[in-house]
Subunit: 365 residues, 2 copies
Amino acid sequence: MTNQMNRVHNFSAGPAALPLEVLLQVKEDLPNYHGEGVTVMEVSHRGPLFANVFEQAQADLRELMGISDDYEVLFLQGGAQTQFALIPMNLGIDGKTAGYVDTGHWSKLAIKEAEKVGSTRVLASSQDTNYTYVPAFDTWGSTEDLSYLHITPNETIHGVEYFNFPQGLSKDVPLIGDMSSTILSRPMDVNNFGLIYAGAQKNIGPAGVTLVIIRKDLLARSADKLPNMLSYKSHAAKGSMYNTPPTFAIYLSGLVFKWLKKQGGLDAMAAINKAKADKLYACIDESQFFNNPVEKEFRSLMNVPFTLADKSQEARFLSEAAAQGLSGLKGHKAVGGMRASIYNAVAPESVDALVAFMKEFEKNL
Amino acid sequence: MTNQMNRVHNFSAGPAALPLEVLLQVKEDLPNYHGEGVTVMEVSHRGPLFANVFEQAQADLRELMGISDDYEVLFLQGGAQTQFALIPMNLGIDGKTAGYVDTGHWSKLAIKEAEKVGSTRVLASSQDTNYTYVPAFDTWGSTEDLSYLHITPNETIHGVEYFNFPQGLSKDVPLIGDMSSTILSRPMDVNNFGLIYAGAQKNIGPAGVTLVIIRKDLLARSADKLPNMLSYKSHAAKGSMYNTPPTFAIYLSGLVFKWLKKQGGLDAMAAINKAKADKLYACIDESQFFNNPVEKEFRSLMNVPFTLADKSQEARFLSEAAAQGLSGLKGHKAVGGMRASIYNAVAPESVDALVAFMKEFEKNL
């Protein structure tokens, strides 16, 4: 029940599965990249070898996501959580408040960090049901006085996803989205956002690179007194090369972008991802034993948490799954139970294998 | 004139050469690490597979450097330049001044960033000669009132290295060293320092992981209001796992630590590195054409900048070197000329090849 080369079906929430084809290319490129006598890791980030890798990765990402020249594409470090601090440090405005919408664990953490930096207001929250929906936009109240509006388009732990975004915001109130676990899973209109950020380790590449897509007019908000490494303006002025970027992680991300293009781009991925998620949710909904609490219209296409009616069966579920090559299924303690993360690199056959296992498990209870 | 598998002699200042043996191990571990059915990149940083990689890397580093339990060993992100900001943010004390010694390009940048955060004093500088020496400790003046004292034990661009460190500082005035380009090149007494930091991409591993070794009593200085990702205290409290660390870069660094142990540890590396540097400096000093301006007692064992008496020969030098598989020799514009970085992973044979080439080049002028 395992993939090619004895690879497991990997449902890890992150760091997550990478496409096998990409990993084999990395293997091929060691220890001599394209006959250059070095690996991508061993050369100056300012030299021609890496410049080519970097520019290609940027160009492919722009093409995949349809990112216009109004935006800078930055490859930074520190994960999405560093952005939790950098966003208010860079985009906060004295005398204004930053607006946040709380839809789960990750929104909550973003809010906590922003509160350390400046004035923050929570416009809406779905904490009342332990996060099973996105609060309706018309309950968020006025956004006019905000420095920016921050949302978490996909909650990796709670499995709640936005399929629409607030429209008609003033240009002075940029929408900011933590896309860590939804980026590249389907087409999204970047123009809705002032800033999109994402840790790489779910749908982009290995942990250690963080994508920041920022509308250029917002760079003027970064104060000159900010340390350069904490300033979007400084990073943009040097094209992500203010200091040595995580070159290997960017190279590998670039291979993932090429792989996505080969699959047919984000329209094709969306169809594949929708089919995978539909199958898994159908299995859960048809079951008397498995349950997902999220309202149907907000169910994540990437992270599918589910509980077992009998908690005492959890350990057996995990060990029997592991024995069949199904790994990374243990849920987060905030929700309990199991979680299947079915990112781009998780093949439809892996979801089929999981569904078959779940049906069999329930039958044999 | 190239190494095994057509690898070049790589004198890049950083990202720099990695041991071939390590790169081949990485290749071997793709796409199925130790029969686990995944790569190190594709699993949770909190799961047993990566925990084992991480703990082994930490233990091996502690052994190599003789790091006592008085210190935390953190694997962070953002490079040494992020530490330029984090050090004053975490270790600065209200009403006190941070002391810096200016011995070159990197000291200068560290000072510039610290000045944005708090009160800073430059105790001594060798800018008068464009950085060819370390100012004598007895000219630094009093350090008693300082929050900390920051030095740059090896200046990667100017090729200036400390072979002694100030002694007898008060425990309240921790010595802080940017060891990016000297760490692991020879034994050093960690107990001299309150905090040691280093970007990985010279002597540790690939760009994207930053080592911070901090004396535990200093963690209390990090204010609770600091964003967690900018707080040494938060990182230490979670053992570098406050968020997803750069798992692949840590795994590869761990392989480098194992490789260093196999070479005989830092005593053995020091002997090898001294022999390499001696050969190259001897070649320069015997030459009428090549010159290194640094005072002999402060010449870096890792970075050897040298100029050509006739600048118009520089392009020819570089192209003929490249033709013989000698790469990464172009110097930094702040010093001009050439620079050979001869880190741990640069084999003695590579230095021999460079010396032979330089002698031949001078003979044929």
